[in-house]
């Protein structure tokens, strides 16, 4: 069943703040399609969990509507909503066995004992926890508790499945395993799902679409590819992965490519731009580090013939990680350019002081709007911080 949030706003009382309210979520509108998995992604305190809890009914929006299918459920208590939640702490009932935990939702709905048993068994088989049926929760590992929590949510065949940072208590390896598992189960049962996390890799793996949030507002909604490669603004670009941003002016649009130039007259082009960018506007020119090719200036590689030159510079730092090499390259920008070189065996491994040329493909370059305050002089903010620091010292 689809879920539709219409202009949800949630304010909390907070006496420490001016006006006594804290706006946790502001004018949030979203439609999650039937069978889709949408992730709410953002830093802590961005309102993602509050949004999820409003869908579940644990919080009530100050204004707005929540539709599950064809019903506005905004005034329904949580127990009357057809949602099942997987909690961050798993929230396994400590006084019940695994099987009792899994069957609890069905028991509440008044199903006959045999049906509850059958259904619980079936789901536990799917989740690979059938042999744990009679265990007590305190005898389970973190991963097993996670599976119980998921089984307990799915067995009810809810209209909407809600995940509240379900993997944050697991270790790194198990986390990777479980996110694939969650995706598999969700696809298997085709349950409309809303997933909250602050882990971008997790969001990338499990989602059909990602909603990036900051300070209670939506920053961008899109597929994992769009969010990562075509961010709508600086916040999204910064939040997901690492990024190089150069201030440029948009000169023209030629053959579907934006031609831009920086203050030193260097000209580049980008195949895409965030919506609303105009010719003549000052914007950020964005290239991800792994899209940059680092070549010795005196020894251009054969692979990079179709690439454009970004700049030339000197290797300032090189960190060899085996599969990749991380470079900081000084190339007369405000800060070093960050580049990740793949397959160093083939491309070559450069050391500090080497003269190199940075190349990029216009397909990997993207333009995003500058924040209003940065438009005039992009260094203002840095200068201000320096001044404050100076004045504090004296």
């Amino acid at each position: 069943m689809s879920v539709r949030l219409v202009e949800i706003t949630k304010e909390f009382k907070d006496m420490d703040r001016e006006g006594g309210t804290l706006v946790a979520v502001r004018d949030f509108s979203l439609e999650v399609l039937d069978g889709e998995l949408v992730t709410l992604l953002g830093p802590s305190g961005c309102g993602k969990t509050t949004t999820l809890r409003m869908i579940a009914g644990f919080e009530v929006p100050t204004s707005g509507e929540i539709w599950i299918g064809n019903k506005n459920v905004v005034n329904d208590p949580p127990n009357k909503r057809d949602t099942s939640m997987v909690f961050q702490s798993y929230a396994i009932f400590p006084h019940m066995s695994v099987e009792q935990n899994v069957g609890f939702g069905l028991e509440l709905k008044g199903y006959p004992r045999d049906t509850i048993r059958q259904e619980s068994r079936r789901i536990m088989e799917v989740m690979g926890i059938a042999e744990l049926a009679h265990r007590r929760p305190d005898q389970l590992s973190g991963g097993q508790q996670q599976r119980v929590a998921l089984a307990r949510a799915i067995v009810n065949k809810p209209s909407v499945l809600l995940f509240d940072e379900p993997l944050s208590n697991l270790d790194a390896k198990l986390r990777e395993q479980m996110r694939v598992e969650i995706r598999r189960i969700q696809q298997n049962f085709k349950i409309t799902s809303i997933y909250v996390t602050h882990d971008q890799a997790e969001a990338m793996t499990v989602s059909d679409r990602i909603v990036v949030m900051n300070k209670g507002s939506i920053m961008q909604v899109g597929s994992p590819f769009e969010i990562y490669s075509r961010p709508a603004n600086r916040f999204v670009a910064d939040f997901i992965g690492k990024v190089n941003l150069f201030p440029v002016k948009v000169d023209s649009l030629q053959a579907d490519r934006y031609v831009v130039s920086d203050s030193k007259g260097r000209q580049w082009c980008a195949a895409s731009a965030a919506p609303g960018i105009q010719i003549g506007e000052t914007v950020w020119f964005m290239v991800r580090p792994e899209s940059l090719v680092v070549e010795k200036t005196d020894r251009p590689g054969a692979k990079s013939e179709n690439l454009f030159v970004l700049a030339s510079g000197v290797v300032e730092k090189a960190v060899y990680l085996g599969a990749t090499v991380d470079y900081d390259i000084a190339a007369s920008f405000d800060r070093p350019v960050f580049a990740v070189s793949h397959d160093p065996v083939d491309v070559g491994l450069w050391s500090i002081g080497d003269k190199v040329t940075l190349k990029y493909s216009p397909n990997a370059a993207h333009l995003i709007p500058m924040d209003e305050k940065n438009k005039s002089t992009e260094n203002n903010a840095i200068e201000l911080v320096c001044q404050q620091y100076q004045s504090r010292k004296t």
């Binding site: 009357k80 396994i92 939702g105 007590r136």
Partner: protein
């Protein structure tokens, strides 16, 4: 302002969508108002009644001018202060000896300090009369002294110390156990002498616990009724007894009420001061679990001293129970000590109605008090509703109010319309239920605060309404609190006397009140037999509850068995 109001309205509307929860909250609030606050308001109003239907401070002025009542006020305050300080001193020595110095016989000392907590509060007074009174075992039989001056200040102080030092011991034991011994070891390691370490580290760390104990003992002694009624006599009037005598002896309701107010004010102040102190106490609980400690932190001389103090107190407490046991089986205490079952024949014969009534009243009120305590703890910790704070403080109020005051409040409030309850079983039950919920609430709140709220949210999310969430999830998780609430409520309803003495009638009577009247009529043997039976019943019931808890809920592992 507007949005605040509309928010409150919205909150009420939302709560109303869960009818069981809504009705539950309304029931809790209204019953607390009726059975906790209303009686106190009645006491206040009655104390202002100057006759002819007009109100004023006349009764207070009259009371303050009366030298006898002023003497009672001063006596009460002096007695409470002395008991609080000396009792805390003994409690601290006991707690330090048992938890820190680990003197030989620690287990026995611990037991000795716990037993009085489950005995009727006036058992000390009874035993003191048996030992030091006119026919006293020690004064008359051994020393041949007649009319030893045990009535009045000396006897009362001794009785109250014996009755209340366990409260201090239990409080301070918790504080000392939670104190990390590594701190003391570090101080020793830095070269401090043992004496210095005690004064500079251990004692300062236990100050909040000590203050808390002093205030608790002050409140309890001020409210104490049984001991002074037996021992104080007319030469040493105290407030609680005077309030009782004004009402029961002179039928002077306004004066009784005014004396109650004099009693109520210092109690409530000390009680809320204690709670405030505990709430801001930070550094006493450095770590959660009792740790392995070295006994090297006290010198052998100090250990000997601690041991001797504990031994003396233990012998005194031992004498109390010894005289009760012997007294229950002796023909005529002080004259003829041939063993007999006469007193028990009396108790199980003519006097058995009181035993039956007591068991019935405690048996009915205890589960209600336990359950209500858990419901209130759940509402206060987990449910957002307007007036939550109010419910919290109101439910704790019955802890602070002396039994005499609440007893007077009940007879004032429930002997006229709209609720006429005097002389019924209901008034005793209601009194016990609302008086003995605080311990259950406190431990329920403590356990709930340590349980992740998402466990309950998970149940709601799976479709459970508030009643099923509470019954199937919350209650099983806070069972240990439920049972400690039950035990407390049971022990207290079995041993209560101060409020109950106003509420008993010929139809419904209590063992404790019977014991008091046996003492007053000089029938010490019967009083001892009743007391012994009472302690035995309490011990048996606690044993049964523990056994149930072990066998029925042991399978849920350590987390379920805090009790």
């Amino acid at each position: 302002m507007h949005s605040k109001q509309s928010r409150a309205v919205a909150e009420i509307k939302r709560t109303a969508r869960d009818p069981i929860l809504f009705v539950g909250i309304l029931l809790v609030i209204s019953s607390l108002l009726i059975f906790v606050l209303y009686p106190l308001v009645e006491v206040g109003l009655t104390s202002l009644d100057v006759g002819n239907g007009s109100r004023g401070l006349g009764v207070y002025i009259e009371s303050l001018r009366s030298p006898y009542i002023m003497k009672a006020l001063v006596n009460s305050l002096i007695m409470s202060t002395l008991t609080a300080t000396i009792g805390t001193l003994i409690g601290y020595v006991f707690a330090f000896a048992v938890t820190r110095a680990k003197v030989p016989g620690s287990r026995i000392f611990n037991l000795i300090a716990v037993i009085p907590a489950i005995s009727p509060p006036f058992i000390g007074a009874l035993a003191i009369i048996m030992l030091f009174g006119n026919n006293g075992l020690i004064t008359w039989n051994l020393l041949k002294i007649q009319n030893f001056p045990i009535y009045g200040f000396n006897g009362l102080l001794l009785a109250q110390l014996l009755t209340f030092f366990p409260v201090s011991y239990l409080t301070l034991k918790g504080v000392l156990e939670s104190m990390n011994p590594v701190l003391e070891e570090a101080a020793l390691d830095l070269g401090g002498s043992r004496w210095k370490v005690f004064w500079k580290v251990t004692l300062p760390l236990s100050i909040p616990g000590i203050t808390s104990s002093v205030l608790l003992l002050f409140v309890e002694t001020l409210a104490d009724f049984g001991n002074p009624l037996i021992l104080a006599g007319s030469k040493f009037p105290v407030l609680s007894v005077q309030a009782y005598l004004q009402i029961v002896g002179m039928y002077d309701l306004p004066k009784g009420a005014a004396i109650s107010m004099l009693l109520l004010v210092p109690s409530v102040i000390a009680f809320y001061l204690q709670r405030w102190l505990v709430s801001r106490r930070k550094y006493t609980t450095v770590t959660g679990k009792p740790q392995q400690t070295t006994t090297k932190i006290v010198s052998s001389g100090a250990r000997t001293f601690l041991f001797v103090v504990c031994l003396v107190v233990t012998i005194l407490v031992g004498l109390v129970y010894f005289s009760i046991v012997i007294g229950a089986f002796a023909k005529v205490w002080g004259y003829d000590h041939t063993p007999t079952l006469d007193h028990f024949r009396f108790v199980f014969g003519v006097g058995f109605k009181a035993v039956r009534d007591t068991l019935m009243i405690a048996g009915i009120s205890t589960p209600f008090a336990g359950l209500l305590g858990m419901v209130i703890a759940y509402l206060v910790v987990r449910v957002k509703f307007p007036g939550r704070q109010f419910v919290d403080s109101l439910s704790m109020l019955s802890f602070a109010v002396p039994g005499t005051v609440i007893g007077i409040g009940y007879i004032l409030a429930f002997n006229h319309k709209p609720l006429v309850l005097t002389g019924t079983l209901a008034i005793l039950l209601l009194n016990f239920i609302f008086r003995y919920i605080p311990v259950g609430i406190e431990s329920g709140k403590a356990i709930l605060a340590s349980i992740d709220p998402s466990i309950e949210e998970a149940a709601i999310n799976l479709g459970a309404d508030s009643r099923r969430t509470f019954g199937k999830i919350t209650l099983p998780m806070i069972l240990p609190a439920f049972f400690s609430g039950l035990v407390y409520a049971f022990v207290r309803s079995m041993t209560a006397v101060s409020a109950a003495i106003f509420l008993v009638s010929s139809r419904w009577n209590l063992m404790t009140v019977h014991i008091m009247s046996q003492v007053e009529s000089g029938n010490l043997g019967a009083a001892a037999a009743y007391s012994l039976l009472l302690v035995a019943i309490v011990l048996i019931i606690i044993g049964i509850i523990r056994a149930i808890l072990k066998t029925q809920f042991g399978k849920f592992g350590g987390t379920m068995l805090h009790f």
